[in-house]
Amino acid sequence: MIQKPAENLLVVGGSAGSLPIIMSLIENLPDGFNWPVIVVLHRLKNVNSELVKLLAGVKNGRRVCEPEDKTQLRDKYIYLAPQNYHVLLEADKTISLDYSEPVHFSRPSIDVTFEAAAHVYGNKAAGILLSGANNDGAYGLEQIWRAGGSVAVQDPETCEYAAMPLAAIHRIREVLILQPAVLALFLENLLLNK
């Protein structure tokens, strides 16, 4: 069971209106982009979501799973934050799940995982914040940026709900504002810059 923990990490956060974007982002992950991806999506409680199945249907050599507590982050895996839990990260690059109060009325909260990524991965973290109707994610994305990681938001003009990216744009001077079609390019660039 000794496996090398992943050296880089991408966290994608989304809420209302983000599902199609997340689907196509995962479908179009560039070849050679093997970073683990944690997807934090606001979902309804206790609704046994079809999301894992939906995403698992996306075939491109990557495994999609809902992580269990103490799962080691590994390349080529896509981790969906389980409903009802926050996803935290330990220094040894394992996941700690947490069932504490919702943040921004959300559990999982995007802020919580962005902040954890900033703490543990520093400038080897990247964050993307997509469409959503609340303020979750802006604070955490700023933490990734402060830690030297790369940050981007979905262009509010293209969002079904612009509030989430707008909140991040207000906080972060240098955030990249990207149309969904160029998100894959952003990922390719991450590889070039590391």
Binding site: N46, E68, D69, K70, L88, A91, S96, D98, Y99, S100
Partner: protein, 275 residues
């Protein structure tokens, strides 16, 4: 989420050490990320700006520590949380437990009791409550005192009723409690077989033998070493063929005694001690 303060790993270790010496609670093998987050959250609410100040107050003020403990242990819980789990208990586990003349159950980390009350309802509906002895324990004395009152906030009852029905419950859920303004009092008969007491999984020992141990959403707050120790504790607390239930996102993968359990239901996270 406004944890604008920060403390270093060394400072956190110092705080943990102080609590151990002064109050006997040992948090040193808790999962670092969540513990740090809880401590920062507490500092934020208590408006304590530095680790130094925190240690000062913790040393000199018992009430301050009680408040700290209340924030640091995550006490969030629900009735019939994860309906699939309760449905599986109903369908697969309770019929087997029915074979025992006395059914002993341990809820470790029961928080304010919601999970235990749900269990009592299941036992009652299966006609097994009279034969049951339910030990419900938690590290946090405030939780135990709350649990003993049998009071659950009324505002969640609608959600709990839906959970109950999803778990296969067919009765009128409101018959199990009395509504009093913002509170629901769980019926006294339902609670008559519960023994609440304080028990710290880190430092206390096996205290009885059980046919079912439930420890859900507690071990996620521990690191792998401590999880492993606690799985041994549970193994030793179970009768052969006794059941162990853990949280929906927890796993036995990281314990060296996983081979001594068999899986009863993988998704509901119910296991059985082998002989």
């Amino acid at each position: 989420m406004s944890t604008r303060y920060d403390i270093s790993p060394g400072e956190l270790a110092g705080i943990v050490e102080l609590i151990k010496l002064n109050y006997g609670y040992d948090f040193s093998d808790y999962a670092h990320a969540s513990l740090l987050r809880r401590v920062l959250r507490f500092m934020d609410t208590a408006r304590v700006k530095t680790a130094y100040d925190l240690k000062y107050h913790l040393t000199n003020d018992k009430d301050f520590f009680a408040w700290f403990l209340q924030t640091v242990t995550v006490n969030v819980t629900e009735m019939f949380r994860d309906p699939l789990f309760y449905k599986t208990l109903r369908d697969k586990v309770l019929p087997k437990l029915a074979a025992y003349p006395v059914i002993k159950i341990w809820h470790a980390g029961c928080s304010t009791g919601e999970e235990v009350f749900s269990m009592c309802i299941l036992l009652h509906e299966a006609g097994l409550l009279d034969r049951a002895r339910i030990y419900a324990t938690d590290l946090n004395p405030v939780n135990i005192e709350k649990a003993k009152t049998g009071i659950v906030p009324m505002r969640y009852m609608k959600e709990y009723t839906a959970n109950y029905q999803q778990s296969g419950g067919k009765n009128d859920f409101s018959a199990y409690y009395t509504a009093r303004y913002e509170n629901a009092l769980i019926s006294k008969e339902l609670r008559s077989k519960i023994i609440f007491s304080q028990h710290n999984l880190v430092s206390d020992h096996v205290f009885n033998e059980f046919q079912l141990v439930c420890c859900r959403n507690v071990l996620i707050y521990f690191n792998k070493d401590l999880q492993n120790r606690i799985y041994h504790l549970f193994y030793d607390s179970l009768t052969p063929m006794g059941y162990l239930a853990i949280g929906m996102k927890e796993s036995l993968l990281f314990t060296d005694i996983r081979h001594r359990f068999e899986t009863v239901h993988a998704a509901a996270k119910i296991f059985k001690r082998k002989l």
